[in-house]
Amino acid sequence: MRRFSWFNATSLTFGFAFLYLPMLILIIYSFNESRLVTVWAGFSTKWYGELWQNDAFLDAAWVTIKVAFWSSTLATVLGTMAAYAMVRAGRFKGRGLFSGMIYAPLVMPEVITGLSLLLFFIAIGLDRGVFTIVLAHTTFAMCYVSVVVTSRLVSFDQSLEEAALDLGCTPFDAFRSVTLPIIMPAVISGWLLAFTLSLDDLVIASFTAGPSATTLPIKIFSAVRLGVTPEINALSTIMIGIVTLGVITASLITRATAKKAAADERAAAG
């Protein structure tokens, strides 16, 4: 390998600094003894302890996880179905319009989506709460799932499904026992994407949340308006930790699967 030039080293340093310095400062100040965020008064973990006592934050965290789980699961089912229908339907009149309508929410400003959902919920007389946030998150997350699953289905060899039909499967059985297991990695990454999107959504959630249900991003945002407290720093640090852990776990699983496949292949060759 070539030696690292000064130019490369510098651009790398600046690049990483640009990406991670703000987060690093947030993490450092979460261990600040002082209540004043900008004044360092020594190391302490007391804010983490206080956070644990803060029922409002804990409730919000629980609501967020519930919403993320249900909305990403619903979005995965609907998004996969939409992707399957679009890829398998072949050419029909208005196909372009249809697929465009599936992807439109991707580029729609969140404020518009949030507002229209709010008006819709009011119009049908649905009380706002956890359920409405789940519905709202499902609507926008399913386009993302649909994009991920579509790209996998496009490269999927359709003769596999025909072979399943030929061997006696009903169309549903063919999907369940052949198509779904093969596209599963794409479906799972679609779910993870939907889960992450739901976790950090602030705009749509604030339109569709009711007084009974507040998500963590809403809670943090409203708390920050009264001033940044070290408690929020601590909470954010925990969130960064969870996300990092998730990413590392996912990549470890991927690597282990790849290793196992390689080992299988060696065993087969031997």
Binding site: A163, L165, D166, G168, C169, A268
Partner: protein, 382 residues
């Protein structure tokens, strides 16, 4: 053709009492404005190894997919074993297909791939294992039962695909370019394996191929297709020796086509003899035909290069042409001589290289004689 044949010869298509397994009745298939199959009628008999041969786009794959149930005929009907299978979905047809890409399920082992169809049939669970083992043995895949498709070679995958499609003991097995992905040597071996398996299982095979040599090797009958129509349906030797059109003669193997007009025959001549005037100065070509075309009509005379003899001295034969060697294609066992017999008309003659090349007495620019008997070629009307 119509006289009874000895029992040993398998020729159900010549027996009027035989009921075909598959009947295409005036089948037309259109995709939008494109007509893939045009008013096609065809009978295929039980235990046949039937080949659909043609260039890409001739409709052979569409015909096969209609048998499998992936396409529905636009007009006409398809009868399988007395049942109109038009409305029957693929999963309820007693037909299995071996796909060109093999379409093995990548997430299942070889064993599970073969058992896939059996698990969805009414076969009792305890018999499935035995059946899979038998298929593994038939295709010599025993050692690979626990492997996934990506862990075996192309030839082994081909055999898994065959075993999987045969496992349910279908009335009809469809093979879509089954050997296309194999290299030449393996393809030849596998052709003979396929024929053995077809004979030992007694299944009716319909194979789609664009490889004429493959069709000739494996098939009991070959259907040559062109532009959604059947050009000729006959046994491989009939297709080769007695093509009914210039297209078929040209598509299968190498052929010399000489255009000419039929001469008026003298009184008292053999009614099957035909004389074809092909050049104002040369003698006409003498040939035979069961029903000679009318005098003065334009015909094509087709003759295979291996039926044309080449010599340095003038031989005694029904047809003799004089010419000059333009080119020699040396293929090891045989050589093909390109001989110019008239300005712009080249006739190919093939000779077996019984002597070493250094002792060959014919070479470029040599003056030679081409000859053939009056029954060696075929007269084709336009």
């Amino acid at each position: 053709m119509a006289q009874p044949r000895p029992d040993a010869v398998f020729a159900p298509w010549d027996d009027p009492a035989e009921v075909p397994l598959i009947q295409f009745k005036n089948v037309t298939k259109r995709f939008g404005d494109f007509t893939a199959i045009e008013d096609l009628t065809l009978d295929i008999y039980a235990k046949e190894f039937f080949a659909l041969l043609g260039p890409s786009g001739c409709g052979k794959t569409t015909l096969m997919r209609m048998l499998a149930g992936f396409e529905k005929p636009t007009e006409g009907s398809i009868i399988l074993d007395g049942v109109d299978i038009g409305p029957v979905p693929p999963n309820e047809r007693p037909v299995n297909m071996m796909f060109q890409s093999y379409a093995l399920f990548p997430h299942l082992t070889v064993w599970e791939n073969i058992a896939f169809g059996l698990k969805r049939s009414d076969m009792p669970k305890d018999q499935i294992g035995d059946r899979v083992e038998r298929m593994l043995k038939l295709t010599q895949l025993g050692k690979f039962a626990k492997r996934k498709p990506h862990q075996i070679s192309g030839g082994q995958r081909q055999r898994v695909a065959l075993a999987r499609s045969l496992a349910k003991a279908p009335k009809l097995l469809l093979l879509d370019e089954p050997l296309g992905a194999l290299d030449k040597k393996l393809r030849h071996e596998t052709q003979f394996e396929l024929m053995d398996i077809q004979e030992s299982t007694g299944t009716t095979f319909v194979i789609v191929t664009h490889d004429q040599e493959e069709a000739m090797t494996v098939a009991s009958r070959v259907a040559v297709m062109v532009d959604g129509n059947l050009a000729q349906v006959a046994t491989p030797d009939q297709i080769y020796e007695a093509p009914t059109s210039a297209y078929v003669a040209d598509f299968i193997g190498d052929v010399n086509l000489i255009e000419g007009t039929v001469e008026v025959q003298p009184k008292g001549a053999d009614p099957t003899s035909v004389a074809i005037k092909w050049s104002p100065t040369e003698d006409p070509i003498k040939a035979t035909a069961d029903t000679p075309p009318p005098a003065a009509s334009t015909v094509q005379f087709a003759i295979r290069p291996e039926k044309v003899a080449i010599s340095a001295e003038k031989p005694e034969a029904a047809n003799v042409m004089e010419g000059k060697i333009l080119d020699i294609a040396y293929l090891g066992n045989i050589s093909t001589y390109h001989v110019e017999v008239a300005p712009g008309l080249i006739v190919k003659a093939q000779a077996t290289n019984t002597r070493r090349i250094s002792r060959r007495n014919l070479t470029w620019e040599d003056h030679v004689y081409l000859s053939w008997t009056d029954t060696a070629g075929v007269v084709l009307s336009e």
